[in-house]
Point group: C2
Chain length 454, copies 2
């Protein structure tokens, strides 16, 4: 007996993400009868996705209805689940801001846009408190770590961040010559900052195989290393981070690492691969943006060919993403272990209860029940998790009930900042950028902008 749900998708104009949502819900018979409201502020990006969804469901004969709206409230009212994949201002805004911050000395950008993303997330969760207070919010858009933590603190909404980065353990298994389907792994920490605590192959500890691979095979591997932009699981940077902190970084964790991997393109190439310099270099990111554009063009082309079948081009196979397995587990009690981002509440020692951590959890009609992790090695805490948490606290403090001094702390903490004067000037100018009007105004209301001496 399927359970129909009412789902609101915020930011449904994100073409690649929405194609995945449409496929996954249409293919999940246990959710038959469900109703999906696709919402985006950009109607030009939204309309094709709505058309795609209706036609795709119809081709499959799936019992799912789709509605579209540019009004957030309409997508939230009476929802059982909300998936939020929205990004403040969209990609153009992010790239413009990145270019501008690069001019101010921040190579590959300063994450000021995340202030706006976190505020957007909290504003969605606040709306949910009015319109669907019992619904689950599944957070897909970044920054998952800071956004979920802020929403947990600011509202009573049940929040779960979902990301696919933890599947990186499968890439690791493959590189070691192991069948990924015979491997189990536990990676915990914060979103995009997770660490391999356990790794078993056919029931036996496979962690020593990583050391063996590094000692015996890594140099040969890197001598012919041509990763896609999204592949960094076996980059030199990943191994170096592992040597520095004692646990292997999984998924997007390697992308960040430390400031020292990112000082310039040459350094990025050394650590992430000669061709692209990793996902986040000007080259790798350029490839990502181009492929994204190509995929959007492919969706539009398929839509405009009314004689063809969408399902011939976008094959009806589940994406492997966890959003609908989670929804199914919660409403149909189909008990399964998923990798979630939920409030810590004692799962990882030394992390406050109200900080959202990423870890495996049993998901079922009982809700999301994270596995207790306990104490992680002090080296990992002191060299990675606490520093990352500190960055999160400063970013949240600059975003929610925002304080300009938290923004200053963030900027001063940044290794690329070279002087106090630069930091003061940069903070002032960020706050006068388009998009920051509201946050700047709130900062002024929450206390005087200090007249910093320069």
């Amino acid at each position: 007996m399927p359970s129909a749900v009412r789902l609101g998708v915020i930011g449904a104009g994100s073409a690649v993400f929405s194609v995945g949502v449409v496929k996954d819900i249409c293919l999940r018979e246990s959710l038959a009868g469900s109703h999906v409201t696709l919402m985006d502020v950009n109607v030009e990006r939204l309309e094709p996705m709505h058309a795609f969804a209706r036609r795709y469901a119809s081709e499959l004969g799936a019992d799912v209805t789709f509605h579209m709206t540019t009004e957030r409230e309409e997508a939230l009212r009476e929802a059982d689940f909300v998936i939020n994949t929205a990004m403040y201002g969209g990609r153009d805004f992010v790239e413009e801001l990145r270019a501008w911050t690069e001019e101010h000395g921040y190579y590959r950008g300063f994450r000021a846009n995340d202030i706006l993303n976190i505020r957007l997330m909290v504003s969605v969760a606040r709306d949910m408190e009015r319109l669907c207070p019992d619904a689950w919010l599944i957070q897909a858009g970044n920054p998952v770590f800071e956004g979920c933590t802020a929403m947990t603190r600011e509202t009573g909404i049940k929040v779960c961040g979902i990301c696919h980065g933890h599947f990186g353990y499968r890439e690791l298994a493959e590189a070691l010559g192991l069948d990924p389907d015979k491997v189990t792994a536990q990676a915990v920490g914060f979103n995009h900052c997770i660490w391999l605590t356990h790794f078993e192959y056919e029931g036996r500890d496979a962690l020593p195989l990583i050391d063996e691979w590094i000692a015996e095979k890594s140099e040969e591997y890197w001598s012919d290393y041509h990763p896609h932009y999204w592949e960094n699981q076996m980059a030199r940077a990943a191994v170096e981070i592992y040597k520095l902190v004692g646990l292997y970084p999984i998924g997007d964790t390697t992308r960040k690492g430390g400031w020292w991997f990112h000082t310039d393109l040459e350094t990025k190439k050394k650590w992430y691969g000669e061709e692209l310099g990793g996902f986040d270099s000007e080259i790798g990111w350029g490839v990502y943006l181009r492929e994204l554009d190509e995929e959007v063009a492919r969706i539009h082309a398929a839509l405009s060919d009314t004689s063809g079948r969408l399902t011939d081009i976008f094959r009806p196979e589940p994406t492997g993403e966890q959003h609908f397995p989670l929804i199914d587990a919660l409403v149909n009690d189909s008990r399964r272990e998923l990798q979630v981002n939920v409030p810590n509440r004692g799962a990882i020692e030394g992390i406050p209860d109200d900080v959202v951590v990423e870890l495996p959890a049993m998901c079922s009609a009982r809700g999301i029940q994270p596995y207790h992790v306990g104490r992680l090695p002090q080296l990992l805490m002191a060299s990675v998790l606490w520093p990352r948490l500190l960055e999160a606290e400063q970013l949240i403090g600059a975003s929610v009930r925002p304080d300009v001094r938290m923004l200053m702390a963030m900027v001063l903490e940044d290794h690329r900042t070279e002087s106090y004067e630069q930091a003061v000037r940069f903070c002032r100018e960020v706050l006068s950028r388009p998009g920051f009007e509201e946050v700047a105004e709130e900062m002024r209301r929450n206390g005087p902008l200090p007249e910093l001496q320069c």
Copy 2:
């Protein structure tokens, strides 16, 4: 009825400190009959202090006996109290290491010597566990924050760090035109990182007077600003830090501030005063070292003049330091509020229980009972206290059961480090310096030194 105590002083060759100890115990009649063992590894520095102590006590007719030894065990055996003011290697070692780290890109030095100081402190506390397990350890030598935290974690010894920096609130009162004797103040945090939460003048909130002074009088004050090297309570840096974090920094807190105050001498002069550039510039520190030498010379001159009286030159007045008020409070139940450094145990929210915090406490026969502080503003936590705690955790991790990767984390976190290669090279070379043989050996035993790729 006085209570005689057995006191061991470790590092008693520190002339200025020991003169203070001798004065304070000789003048405190409630401790009459006490016995003091002065211990130092440097007999040439120790002997004159022993001679000074005996002659000073005799001139005063004080009922205190002094003994000297170069054996630490002798000073600890059956002690009721131990005061540790030792500094690993002494001043010459520190200055040599500073000069060497400056050559490696760390202006005014990298605090690698604190690794050795912390190890020395823990080793004293471990000896106390064998020789005087019930004694109080009063820690005077730096780093008080990390050292006391490490000793608390590693041993069962009762540890209390004592420092005079919190008296900076009196300088603040004077600058504001208030009688310091009519002011009460609470400054809390970590040693050398304490923040004014309360400030009352004749029972009324005097915190607003700070803002008034800044708005109306600070520029005039700084237009004719000629501080001694130890005076920084009213420096531009102090006011700027206050603007950045919301609470006024007290005492030595201002000396650190943030990396941006210390990039070069010119910057230091701007923030700490044109003449000296503050306590920690090459100028200010030079004055400090010279005055220290002059004071030692004065002690030696007084000693060699056997016809004169020491008490004519070193007047028999209490120093105002808290060591003997604390001892007296504990053994004679003379209840008094003192500023102490003791394990947090819930006093400051958001700081782990086993971290040593600085705060006021009621001291009496019941022991040291810190006042509960509660929640401090999030801005202070996220911009100052947690970052400072993180530095402490890395330093402790590089010192006690030392891990070279903790040292790497410390070096990489340092804003003066410009590349990964520099960090790797610097760590390796620090560990091959004289004095670091034992810690390097332990690091190797505690795990392989990672073969960092460079």
